[in-house]
Amino acid sequence: MKLNLDPLAVSRARELARRAGQPVVDMARSHTTVSVERAVLRLAGITGADTDGIPWVNRLVDQVRDDVGLGHGVALPVFHALAEFGDLTLLAQKAAAGSVRFELPQGKDATAARKLAKRAVGQGIKTIDRNRAQRDRLVKRHGDPKQRPWIYLIVATGDIHEDIPQAQAAARAGADVIAVIRSTGQSLLDYVPEGATREGFAGTYATQENFRLMRAALDESSRELGRYVRLTNYASGLCMPEIATLAGLQRLDMMLNDSMYGILFRDINPIRTFVDQRFSRQIHARAGIIINTGEDNYLTTADAVEAAHTVTVSQLLNEFFAHEAGLQDWQLGIGHAFEINPDLPESFRLELAHALLARELFPDAPLKWMPPTKHMTGDVFRGNLLDGFFNLVGTLTGQGILLVGMMTEAVVTPWLSDRDIALQNVRYVLNACGGLHEDFVPAPGGFIQQRAHTVLNEAIDLLAEIVDDTLLNAIADGTFGIMKRPANRGKGLDGVAKHEPGYYNPATEILEAR
């Protein structure tokens, strides 16, 4: 341990995070959302969409809600109705045509529906379990990346068929993890588009079919390269629980999944988000998916030095929510970023201090280290240099996942050549400085240690305030990323329902069984 952190301070910080987070967990446990319910139906095997592209799961859930409300969950009404129609998709079609009226089964009917529902959803979970086992086998066969940090690259053409060759080229050039970022619009859609898609803006739609195509392509690359290449997407936005489910069903390996990102940066309602969050994390836990949290984003709107402690606070909250949902430490790709103004004296040492603090607070988590974006400019020569120093912090402080910075950050979504130049940069730094961490020993009581201690103390103070004031109020006040998001505002609140007595969710039941 290079920072000489006070263990008492560290455990106090964790305890405060638990106390700040628990009320939110309680709230999440007593609510459901349209997307959680749709995720349940997806686990039960419903796929496809109507001719307008609206998925059958949406049609079903909307109809159930109209008929009996959402508060009991959709499982019982749907599986009760299924007794009559035999086939889920057929049922959905009928429902959409208005020829089914859902009702809440009672007594024996309820028991039967519950049993049916659990069996169907259990099939979905089994697929997730099989995928997890398959991933383990493939990792054993092809091997993990030889180095830490794993090299994480983004593709973003908007067209899955351009994305695939770019992703394969990136893997060949050294990427260990490929993230397909999403079209700007998707997070606010209250449904998951269907099929292979070719027209995203600055990103490609997350669909089950796109997941499948890309995972298959990367399986091919893994074989070719003798190294299991991981695939990432974004479990965020209004459909977070469903996306998480589809990720489990298509064997994605990592998912962006932050407890507050949607609230802060997509203006999604806080309650909606926390409910969706918990369910999606339970799925990720089961699927053996590594989540990536989004603290880096705060530093694009807030100042990376002033707000450093808000990153730490958020990391501790994300850890608490993750553990509560069943995620293991090895699944916590906790985020942070190299976003200090590079003109600030000793900015590099400040970066080292912050990165080490995260490293030592979460010793068993594969931290996700994010590159400079805010202070990148059109000066691409300088940009590539900054990315080199970002990479250096990554290797010096033992980061687990390194999102590769692009010299064109301020210009365009990455070009093929940008990615190649960026990977060359990473390779140089990891190869030339791979063992340098041995010689990096922050001077005892010096600049780096002091800075880390300061940030930790500020984080503790802020957590104490949050415990007093509630997390929802802190979010409303602009604590994170200077974004003010009151609990009664934001998108998607109408998709939230409080559990009624007798609420039943077979997925939660299975996921929480152990």
């Binding site: 973003a156 908007g158 060759p165 394969q168 080229a169 060949r172 050039a173 079209s183 700007t184 619009g185 606010l188 027209e199 803006f201 600055a202 940066f265 997509r266 203006d267 694009t300 709107t301 301020a410 365009v412 979504t413 070009w415 093929l416 050549s417 190649d420 130049i421």
Partner: protein, 245 residues
């Protein structure tokens, strides 16, 4: 000042320029020739191919240096020069008060799927940017900042209910010309929703706009990289107050 100049490497008039690009062909002699052909078409003569690296199977990245034969004719350069005075906050407030006799109403938003609010916030919010306060700081301006991912109908409705004198729209994402599509959609909606003389001023901004495109986009003014709130306030006063809307 001379009216004709050329790029400068280390000697006046040497025309020296650096270019890089990827061609969708594997790396071989032919590819290098192809890169030089492109450089020649771009006007580099002689051109030196100094770096070629294959990416994946079928692409090659090139770096070319050379002397570009084109002349830059400074007297023919087209730019949008600031055609209004830069005013202080005090001056802005005074003019609004005198000419308009009411607050000047401004509505701002990121439209479409764009959620990059930092730019519009820099212009509108109190905090401002680069040491200048944003428009909210101006006593005689009434500002509504609608935030991110606002739809055009929402924006038109807000402009109407706020009796907006000016609508400020930010667009940062440019992939597949998203910023141009969204801006055109927005200006068309305003043309439709308001009679000719009553339409609020339409102003767009973002780091990748071409400031010359006002006509094509149907807006009154475009602000680019590094705009400051004071410039925007001064322009508003110049257009709205002076023209006595």
């Amino acid at each position: 000042m001379k009216t004709i100049v050329r790029p400068y490497g280390d000697t006046t008039g040497d025309g020296m320029t650096q270019v890089s690009f990827t061609l969708p062909i594997p790396h071989d002699k032919l590819a290098e020739g192809a890169a030089l052909q492109l450089a020649a078409k771009m006007g580099l003569e002689p051109a030196m191919l100094v770096h070629a690296k294959q990416i994946g199977d079928g692409f090659t990245f090139f770096v070319v240096y050379g002397s570009v034969r084109h002349l830059v004719e400074l007297d023919k350069v087209q730019v949008v020069q600031r055609d209004f005075d830069l005013l202080s906050a005090k001056e802005v407030n005074t003019i609004v008060k005198q000419r308009l006799r009411r607050k000047l109403s401004v509505v701002g938003a990121c439209i479409g799927t764009d959620a990059h609010t930092v730019g519009i916030d820099a212009i509108l919010n109190l905090k401002g940017i680069a040491g200048e306060k944003g428009l909210e700081y101006y006593r005689e301006l009434k500002v509504l900042n609608m935030g991110a991912q606002v739809t055009v109908p929402e924006l038109v409705a807000a402009a109407r209910s706020e009796k907006a004198d000016a609508v400020l729209v930010s667009q940062v994402v440019t992939q597949r010309d998203a910023h141009l599509h969204n801006t055109r959609e927005m200006s068309a909606a305003f043309r439709e929703a308001f009679p000719a003389g009553k339409r609020p001023l339409l102003i767009v901004g973002g780091p990748r706009f071409d400031e010359m495109m006002t006509q094509e986009l149907g807006v009154d003014r475009i602000f680019g990289r590094g705009t400051t709130p004071r410039e925007v306030a001064s322009y508003l006063v110049h257009r709205v107050a002076r023209e006595g809307r």
